[in-house]
């Protein structure tokens, strides 16, 4: 499937292959917590099937869902930027199959091979800008009355 942010398109073939050699196949049952806000971001995933919810804990409201991620998408980018701490929490909504990557290994490879490092940085950066832009648009509350696409 084509996408500007999925790993299949977001990375040049050569670098994608190198990254995929570091992948570990994992699966999670529905309801599994993958990471928590404020904890060390020591790994990341590319989702193959299933849905993962990103959330923030709000006292009295529990986990407020920010966004859902599905097939082909990068789960987690905090591992790429210091201080390597998760900004959100994540949990599996449905059974999830994913490729898991160890953050330190990938960062080390990035440091050793600047061309690979640039590709990874560009890919992660594109995912982040994409999600930022989507969040900005959602801030507009476009579908509310008067901001909506209704006629009159």
């Amino acid at each position: 499937m084509t996408s500007t942010t999925t790993v299949s398109v977001g990375l040049p073939v050569e670098h994608r292959d190198r990254l995929m050699r570091l992948a570990r196949e994992v699966s999670f049952g529905a309801g599994t917590r993958l990471f928590e806000e404020g904890r060390r971001a020591d790994r990341f995933w590319v989702i193959r099937t299933g849905t993962v919810l990103l959330d923030l804990h709000v006292p009295g409201r529990g986990a407020a869902v920010i966004e859902s991620l599905g097939h082909g998408e990068l789960l987690g980018w905090s591992w790429h930027y210091p201080p390597y701490v998760w900004q959100l929490g994540a949990g599996a909504l449905s059974p999830v199959r994913a490729w898991e990557f160890d953050a330190e290994t990938v960062r080390a490879l990035c440091a050793r091979d600047p061309a690979f490092g640039r590709s990874i940085a560009t890919w992660v950066g594109r995912v982040v800008t994409h999600r930022l832009q989507a969040s900005r648009i959602r801030l507009l509350d476009l579908y509310a009355p008067y901001g909506s696409g209704s006629r009159a």
């Binding site: 500007t4 942010t5 999925t6 859902s68 509350d141 579908y143 901001g147 909506s148 696409g149 006629r151």
Partner: protein, 272 residues
């Protein structure tokens, strides 16, 4: 041609959300309008209040369904109608989605908010004749679960394994929400289509249309095969009142559905 509104009886009223209803309208007398194509609109007349353009959200044999959100005087009056009341209708007006031009291609319909209403007849038509097309995708964006139009139908589509791949997403999830969370464009990742052989149909607020069309274009869908439904002030629907101009486009005549190849540059200019 209808110079004056043709009386129609409200034969059905369904509350879709807190501020949106669907009216089923059947000709009150002998006179009926010409058949509507998906994407076309009618001028709906509320007696003593005025007229507004509303796209058809379902086309039956004799009856038409219009889904109307109460945001102004006329739409509020229409939303307050009950079965047995009458409204006037003129139409059909404007360009339709022109589904027939997508024969043999994958179809991606992307909707935001009430933009699902004008696309529903297209989805129904494509689904009914799905062998004429490639893969069918419907991506639905809504503010909340409570604001989702045709929620039961959308859920049934989303859970079925039929010819239509349907995904829905909301900006803010509430308890019981069964779909995705996020902007509708993110659903494109899970849609099944070959961009080079795809026709896309986009309907929703202009910002959502711009973001979606840009994403589709980037993925490789041809600009002229991204069909968007735009909105401008419409008074007459017959090309005479001048209100609905967007550059050289008279929206009631040349639109509301136009290709992104034409729309892109027009939407780039502020206050055009």
């Amino acid at each position: 041609m209808s110079d004056v509104p043709v009386p129609h009886l409200v034969t059905g009223m369904r509350r879709e959300t807190a501020d949106t209803v669907s009216l089923t309208l059947t000709p009150a007398g002998q006179e009926a309008l010409e058949p509507f194509a998906p994407g076309q609109f009618a001028m709906v007349y509320a007696f003593g209040v005025g007229e507004i353009p509303v796209s058809v959200s379902r086309v039956g044999r004799r009856e038409l369904v219009h889904t109307i959100r109460s945001v102004g005087a006329v739409s509020a009056a229409l939303c307050a109608l009950r079965p047995g009341s009458q409204v006037g209708l003129r139409g059909p007006f404007g360009t339709g989605w022109e589904l027939e031009r997508a024969a043999g291609q994958d179809i991606v319909a992307v909707t935001g908010g009430i933009g699902l209403a004008p696309l529903r007849p297209l989805v129904l038509a494509a689904r009914a004749a799905h062998r004429a097309y490639g893969r069918l995708n419907l991506l639905v964006g809504s503010r909340t679960f409570e604001d989702l139009l045709y929620a039961d139908q959308v859920r049934a589509w989303a859970e079925s394994h039929g010819p239509l791949l349907c995904r829905a997403t909301v900006d803010r999830p509430s308890p019981g929400w069964w779909g995705h969370v996020g902007l509708v464009t993110t659903l494109l990742n899970s849609a099944r289509f070959v961009p080079e052989n795809t026709t896309a149909y986009v309907c929703g607020p202009e910002v959502m249309i711009r973001a979606t069309a840009r994403d589709l274009l980037h993925r490789g869908v041809r600009a002229d095969r991204i069909r968007v439904s735009l909105e401008r002030n419409m008074r007459c629907a017959t090309g005479h009142c001048g209100h609905c101009q967007l550059g050289g486009v008279l929206m009631c005549r040349d639109g509301p559905v136009i290709g992104w190849d034409r729309a892109a540059s027009l939407l780039m200019v502020r206050e055009l």
